[in-house]
């Protein structure tokens, strides 16, 4: 499988701050890849380097087989970009902006344009200055999703969308991927990436700390368990692989390493459990592990 994006040991400094500090990243063709990190981790900088808007200090970045700084025209015909904060020309209508963006990119599918306008419930005759933040975002998303490109770069794409539109957006992204195209999106919203991405890279302070499919990531993480038991809480607490054990009356809550799950379940059975819920770790929990300072980076 070829890579749509290949970044190796990339460094970008702004004055004294190292926004990207030896970043490595690979995005395969045909996947939805999420770039996850807190504010200031270097997500937007990464995307702006890929767009040739920023010069890098060292390291290499390849985009669709080309050099993002040099091959601007050729590469940009094959991609569409939606910035995190969408600003439009105040006296152009939404429809005019969509057409303009499509034309300067190299083509728009007019059927898909009409379809997306309808699904996003966007009035294209309104002047841009009259649009809310969410509607401005919709304009940029329609323009990007309706264009005939191989790669979508989305910087925090749903920040202004309501839940209903969020679902429309999710479907559109998956349809886009199902046509064999690639989507690279950044986010600090875990639920968004969870719902959209096939694979995730987590970055912190301009470095990648982890990368893999969500299944692989869960494999690394503990299982969270909540149970009501009649007795023997102390025995469970002492089990191998059990962490962050808490009791609240008859209720116990703890996390357990995946390899020690069966032992914990046996202990729960012996303790006379009357209820049991377990859930896979949310990205929130993965996130916390990677961003809490004592945790060491884990390679997948």
């Amino acid at each position: 499988m070829t890579a749509a994006i290949e970044i190796e040991n990339l460094v970008k400094t702004f004055g004294r701050t190292r926004a990207l500090d030896g970043l490595d990243l690979t995005v395969d063709v045909g996947e939805v890849h999420g770039l996850l990190g807190p504010n200031g981790a270097g997500k937007s900088t990464t995307i702006r380097v890929l767009l040739g808007l920023l010069r890098t200090d060292s390291g290499s970045a390849r985009l669709l087989g080309g050099d993002p700084w040099r091959d601007v025209e050729e590469l940009h015909r094959r991609l569409a970009y939606v910035p995190g904060e969408v600003m439009l020309w105040p006296n152009l209508t939404g429809g005019e902006v969509i057409d303009l963006m499509g034309r300067v990119r190299g083509g728009l599918d007019s059927k898909r344009r009409a379809d997306l306008l309808e699904r996003f419930e966007l009035d294209p005759t309104k002047k841009s200055r009259a649009y809310s933040k969410g509607n401005r975002q919709k304009v940029a998303l329609v323009a990007a999703l309706a264009s005939d490109v191989e790669l979508l770069l989305l910087d925090e794409p749903t920040a202004g969308l309501d839940p209903l539109m969020d679902a429309v957006f999710r479907d559109s992204v998956h349809e886009f991927r199902d046509r064999g195209r690639t989507i690279f999106l950044s986010s600090h919203i875990l639920a968004e990436v969870e719902a959209l991405a096939d694979r995730v890279s987590i970055i912190r302070d301009g470095k990648r700390v982890d990368s893999g499919s969500l299944a692989q990531m869960r494999h690394l993480a503990r299982v969270a368990i909540t149970a009501d038991i009649a007795r023997g809480a102390d025995a469970i607490k002492k089990l191998k692989g059990v962490h962050e054990f808490r009791t609240q009356g008859e209720r116990v809550e703890f996390q357990v390493d995946p390899g020690d799950l069966s032992g914990a379940l046996a202990a729960l059975a012996k303790a006379g459990a009357t209820s049991l819920t377990s859930h896979p770790p949310t990205l929130e929990e993965i996130f916390l592990r990677h961003y809490s300072d004592e945790s060491a980076p884990v390679a997948s």
């Binding site: 010069r55 601007v72 025209e73 940009h76 209508t93 429809g95 034309r103 005759t125 200055r129």
Partner: protein
């Protein structure tokens, strides 16, 4: 919540944002007023020379149209402020108007005010804070200009009137800004509207002052700029016309508040209409976009230039007869160039237009800066648009638009003056005189492009250069600035057509400099980060 709540916080914010612009502007205005007055006093030591100079001014249509008459030829004060007085009241009025828009509508349009509006900010607070800043700046400029004039040894009464007029015109400008900011949703439009209103009132009095035999002098009373002139500093010292300025300002501010409290947030009196659901064919390239962004401004400029060209051409016939004496010629030279023959009159007026065209050209090319700051450059540069094409599109609109405006003003002035002169090819002569301004204009646009290319915020170098060149051209000789420095202004090298031999060498080397500046700007822009 009181409708004024939060005014103090907004005022502090505004003062902080303007902490550089405001003092720099005030120092320039006060410095120019005081220094040009003291230079004039030194230049005309006795009554005879003053009367001679005033007579020249009062008979030259070009100076009458631009600065108005001198009401007392024996008064050194009146001679000292006839030019700088007009320029500083206009500068103050435009500055104050734009300042009010900047702190009201511009903040609203970018959404920053909304951020504050959710906190404790009353409905009248933003306008009040903006007016306090603009009125405060006007009063400060007036006070120190008056003191500066008095300090040069001019009469106290006249200095007080002149200072009050500067302050008063600033306040009227602020009041225009207060109304315009409520009328449209775009700050650009509001600033243009207020500036346009001031320009129209300036034009009204220009017609009144330059029409032959004072036939239209009553027109002057329809214009606040005319009221300033009627206050006649150092030539009668009338305070009551200044009361008209105050009354107008009060009415306009009241209208501004009434509109501000009645409209929606970010709404306006002139509502936005719906537009096309699809883009017209031309709007599919960076050039199409650059044109679309400048289109409205261009047509307004084009209409204005057509009118002004016709007016200037029409006045050519009433240009006074040539006065042939060495001292007269010397005076004319110090006033900024020969101004008597029809050709010389046209030449002076067209070189004045060249500066206006430069303003259009600079703002058209520096739209790129606004696009970058407004985060609208990024989506275009993320498309198949190279940086060269993107910046080049703004430059093409700027250069082509400038040439088109020169053609318009040259053609209308040529047609309107054809009857007054004996040349059968008058239109071609005047169009030629207009087109010969191109290299100097392009040099200043080039300075803006080079600055923007190197680092976005350096785009203002174009505006700084234009200001310096205009001041050098208008006051350089008066202030005895060395010729070497005066030569820095490209406008001073433009051949003074029509009526003189066209020399090609300044045209060639100024064009070369302009091209070099464009190349520097583009080369630097290719290398830098986009913010």
């Amino acid at each position: 919540m009181s409708s004024l709540a939060g005014t103090r916080a907004l005022l502090r914010l505004a003062l902080r944002r303007d902490r550089v612009v405001l003092p720099v502007f005030l120092v320039i205005v006060v410095g120019m007023v005081a220094s040009s007055a003291s230079a004039t006093i030194a230049l005309y030591p006795d009554a005879a020379s003053r009367i001679e100079a005033s007579t020249v001014i009062n008979t030259a249509t070009s100076t009458l149209a631009m600065f108005g008459p001198i009401h007392d030829p024996t008064s050194i004060g009146a001679l000292s402020v006839f030019k700088i007085g007009m320029m500083s009241v206009l500068a103050l009025a435009v500055f104050a108007a734009r300042m009010v828009v900047r702190h009201t509508r511009a903040e609203e349009e970018t959404g920053r005010l909304e951020l504050l509006g959710a906190a404790v900010v009353g409905r009248r607070a933003p306008l009040t804070a903006a007016l306090i800043v603009a009125v405060g700046a006007s009063l400060t400029a007036g006070l120190f200009s008056g003191l500066g004039l008095f300090g040069t040894g001019l009469a106290g009464g006249g200095s007080a009137i002149m200072g009050a007029a500067i302050a008063g015109m600033g306040v009227v400008g602020a009041a225009f800004g207060a109304v315009a900011a409520q009328l449209t949703t775009s700050a650009r439009g509001a600033a243009g509207m207020a500036t346009g209103a001031i320009a129209v009132f300036y034009g009204i009095r220009a017609v009144a002052d330059s029409a032959s035999d004072g036939a239209l002098s009553w027109l002057s009373w329809l214009s606040p700029v005319g009221w300033y002139q009627q206050a006649r500093p150092y030539a009668g010292d009338r305070a009551w016309p200044l009361a008209l300025l105050a009354a107008l300002a009060i009415v306009l501010v009241a209208v501004g508040y009434a509109l501000a409290t009645r409209r929606d947030f970010a709404g306006s009196l002139l509502a936005d209409r719906a537009g096309g659901a699809t883009a017209p064919r031309y709007l599919g390239s960076p050039l199409g976009l650059a044109w679309r962004l400048q289109r409205n401004a261009f047509w307004i400029w084009a209409g204005t230039f057509a009118l002004v060209g016709a007016m200037v051409g029409g006045l050519t016939g009433s240009v006074g007869s040539f006065i042939d004496s060495a001292s007269m010629r010397d005076i004319i030279d110090k006033l900024g160039g020969a101004a008597f023959l029809e050709d010389a009159f046209l030449s002076v007026e067209i070189s004045f237009m060249a500066i206006a065209v430069t303003i259009f050209g600079l703002q058209a090319v520096l739209r790129s800066r606004a696009e970058e700051v407004g985060l609208r450059a990024e989506p275009m540069l993320a498309s198949a648009t190279t940086r060269l094409r993107w910046l080049g599109s703004f430059l093409v609109v700027s250069l082509a638009g400038s040439v088109a405006l020169l053609l318009i003003v040259g053609t209308t002035a040529g047609l309107a003056s054809a009857g007054a002169v004996d040349y059968s090819n008058q239109v071609a002569r005047v169009v030629g005189a207009a087109l010969v301004q191109i290299p100097a204009i392009f040099v200043v646009i080039g300075i803006g492009v080079a600055g923007f290319g190197i680092a976005g915020r350096l785009g203002f170098a174009g505006w700084a250069a234009l200001t310096v060149f205009v001041l050098l051209g208008e006051f350089g000789k008066l202030l005895n600035i060395p010729q070497g420095i005066l030569n820095l202004a490209p406008y001073s090298h433009t051949p003074r057509l029509p009526g003189v031999e066209l020399s090609w060498s300044p045209i060639i080397w100024m064009s070369a400099i302009a091209i070099a500046l464009f190349v520097i700007g583009f080369a630097a822009f290719r290398r830098r980060d986009i913010s």
